[in-house]
Symmetry: C2
Subunit: 198 residues, 2 copies
DNA sequence: TGCAAATCGGAGCGCTGCTCCGTATCGTGA
DNA sequence: TCACGATACGGAGCAGCGCTCCGATTTGCA
């Protein structure tokens, strides 16, 4: 299940240029992603970094691996964001804030939301990484809120997470679309303690 | 604003092969879309129809135009589906049924939901066609339900429509994802007469 | 300093969407 | 019935993509 785990430095026996180039690549990729979005051509990243195509693909076998590596620390920040209980907040409020933070993250990175749900080969790695890192967090938040009686308990964290991600799709393509409102609507649906009237 | 309006047969002055080939193309495209999804290569449709690439692009300047043409009658059916009030139903129930029907339509056509929100050039035509045909219907359903006091009135039909479409994305790529449940959750959020607790 | 092993670079492959123009077909007027 | 101009067809070809492959280059140890 290893995606791009930056194998834990086998024992310092790495050549010096390898570490140097990896950093160059990450910096270049980050810059290009901001400028041209997640879908930027790999050649563009190669040009930006001053390295060759082969070098990129040896470090990151797949584009998704590169994307994951670039956003890893932001993913980490998101994963621990639910750990500071922030005094007197209802569990629902904590959940709500985290969901908005997650949405902001997706929207900020051009095309990330789209890529996450793309069926293009190779992008399952991206999807898997997000699920692995964030699903436990969201699951815990949902359960806490449900236990406190704030929200219903019959919503699976997996569905909910993909739904949030999906709702973020198109904010750049269709400027009139207000994803935030729809996310709030989904959150509102959560507060019903019983299923919607059939 | 004309997308692929199948110009109303200028006056029968069309060569006979033109009409024949257009039908061939529509049939072939429909078959290929079912078999390989909306994203099927154009060459595949050419092969299936026995016609050449040039013929396809002369009839349908863009892939989106072809897609619109193939699904047009189903779009029409959806647009009038809200017209039979169906006896003793609450306006919310009518809205709910229509939304599910819309979602089923999107899910059934492989990749349609994804294409609708794609930022690929040319697919705005597809998006526009959907908005033009279906937005008035959804708007009317939302307003009726709100007037009857079933649902809140501060939700824009445009946002809601895109949200439904977005929630349908990924049902094929991620078999575990239950889009239906998330659509129900969104509908549940609608029944709150006041905004969610802040 | 020399040399094997590791790494790099970019030409090249296969696949797209879409264009362009020589060729084939159609329908009309003689 | 036939011939000819207008119209439509077909598919080679272009540009751009992700990714591979292997000869050239660099590195670090002895």
């Amino acid at each position: 299940m290893s995606t791009a785990d930056t194998p834990p430095a086998p024992s310092g026996r790495q050549r010096s240029d390898v570490r140097r180039n990896e950093q160059k690549l990450l910096d270049a990729a980050a810059a290009v992603f901001v400028r041209m979005g997640i879908d930027a051509p790999v050649r563009e990243i190669a040009a930006e970094s001053g390295l060759g195509m082969g070098t990129i693909y040896r470090h990151f076998p797949t584009r998704a691996d590169l994307v994951v590596a670039v956003f890893r620390h932001q993913l980490d920040a998101l994963a621990v964001a639910a750990d500071n209980p922030a005094a007197a907040d209802t569990p629902y409020e904590v959940l709500r804030r985290w969901v908005h933070r997650f949405a902001d993250f997706l929207v900020t990175k051009h095309g990330l939301a789209e890529a996450l749900h793309s069926d293009q080969a190779g992008f399952e790695a991206l999807h898997n990484e997000f699920v692995e890192r964030l699903l436990p967090v969201l699951d815990q938040l949902l359960k806490a809120s449900a236990s406190a009686g704030c929200t219903r308990a019959d919503v699976r964290a997996y569905d909910f997470m993909l739904a949030i991600g999906n709702l973020c799709i198109g904010v750049e393509t269709f400027p009139d679309y207000q994803a935030r409102r729809m996310i709030d609507l989904l959150l509102a649906g959560l507060t019903q303690t019983a299923p919607a009237p059939s």
